[in-house]
């Protein structure tokens, strides 16, 4: 599989680095005004279109370096291959998740669909760390833009014992059922008590999380029992 790129003379790796810079400096502009940003110069236009298909190579390399010993070298073609593989991975999982949505006549691909698809396609080992990650994200969502979110996250990494995690995961994930609010509302309560300093009331946080979940998730999640707090 080769990459066709009209920007002759530029190595893909160079384009990747430059795009990483471009994306870094005008991130939100690029997202919302993608057409405008792409149209500014011909060079930018072809870079944005091509690289939309892949994760920024700088990010890919950084993750690889976490695994490799310091003296290890990575060839450019290896970097690009892995970069391509990541996109293929996303497409692969999304395709399966989307099929499930269509079978169940839902329009929105949810986090649960993604996790379900990963498990079905053999990536079981990822489910546990991903579930934990998603829980932490949802907690932070409940207290957007405030230092308490960070405090809560630090607290959570201590307070969430293996037992609590498994209880939350088991309650949330039995048979790949959607996440139950009860699971992590109970968790939030524990964290607040142990933290002590968290001023935001539990019901405020719970409402915020429920509001976010309701806003994001569509009809498929009407089965959530919002009274389950």
């Amino acid at each position: 599989m080769s990459l066709v790129n009209p920007c002759a003379g530029l190595k893909l790796s160079e384009i990747n680095m430059r795009l990483a810079e471009i994306n870094h400096t005008k991130n939100s502009a690029a997202i919302t005004n993608n057409g405008a940003a792409a149209a500014t110069t011909d060079e930018n236009e072809c870079i944005v279109r091509e690289q939309d298909r892949f994760m920024p190579i700088a990010n890919v390399i950084r993750i690889m370096r976490k695994i490799l010993p310091p003296h290890a070298k990575i060839s450019d073609d290896a970097k690009e291959t892995i970069q391509e593989c990541v996109s293929e991975y996303i497409s692969f999982i999304t395709g399966e998740a989307n099929e499930r949505c269509q079978r169940e006549q839902r329009k929105t691909i949810t986090a649960e669909d993604v996790l379900w698809a990963m498990s079905k396609l053999g990536f079981d080992d990822y489910i546990e760390p991903l579930t934990l990650y998603l829980h932490r994200f949802r907690e932070m969502e409940g207290d957007r833009g405030s230092m308490r979110a960070e405090t809560l996250m630090k607290t959570s990494s201590r307070a969430m014992t293996a037992a609590e995690y498994h209880a939350a995961a088991a309650g949330s994930f039995a048979g790949f059922a959607p996440f139950h609010h009860h699971g992590f509302f109970g968790y939030l309560k524990d964290a607040s008590i142990s933290n002590g300093a968290a001023g935001t009331s539990l019901s405020q946080q719970a409402n915020a999380v429920a509001a976010m979940a309701n806003g994001d998730h569509q009809a498929s999640h009407s089965q959530y029992d919002d009274n389950n707090k």
């Binding site: 080769s2 919302t32 690889m64 990575i74 290896a78 291959t81 991975y89 929105t108 080992d125 994200f137």
Partner: protein, 123 residues
């Protein structure tokens, strides 16, 4: 593009983004790739790209680990595309990637794989 606003609003304006940690992959890019995976991909919840950002990290880590094992077997210190290909072929769950590295298989039979081969417009 309202979907983009849901997470780019609070994720990208520096508020939560910094607190999810330095490891996050760009959510907008993930979402673009998800949308391109099929004609009929309609809507994507705000959390799905979040899950993918972590999942891709795990994926890269696993692929790198396995590739590096092949590098070590060859007593080398440079991770090549061939090593990635070997890791893919050797791992069941990476079967979906086999077609992406099948070119490499034919190259390695020559015994020589120039490092800087993958320039724009070649092959």
């Amino acid at each position: 593009m309202r979907q983009a606003g849901k997470y780019s609003g609070f994720m990208m304006c520096g508020g939560i983004a910094g607190r999810t940690g330095p490891h996050s992959l760009p959510l907008a890019r993930i979402k673009k790739i998800m949308k391109k995976s099929g004609e009929d991909v309609k809507m994507i919840s705000g959390e799905a790209p979040i899950v993918f950002s972590k999942a891709c990290e795990l994926f890269i880590e696993e692929l790198t680990r396995r590739s590096w094992a092949t590098t070590l077997q060859g007593k080398r210190r440079t991770l090549h595309k061939d090593d990635v290909a070997s890791a893919i072929v050797a791992t069941d769950i990476f079967d979906f990637l086999v077609s992406m590295v099948s070119e490499t298989a034919s190259h390695s039979e020559d015994g020589t794989v120039p490092e800087e081969e993958e320039t724009v417009g070649s092959s």
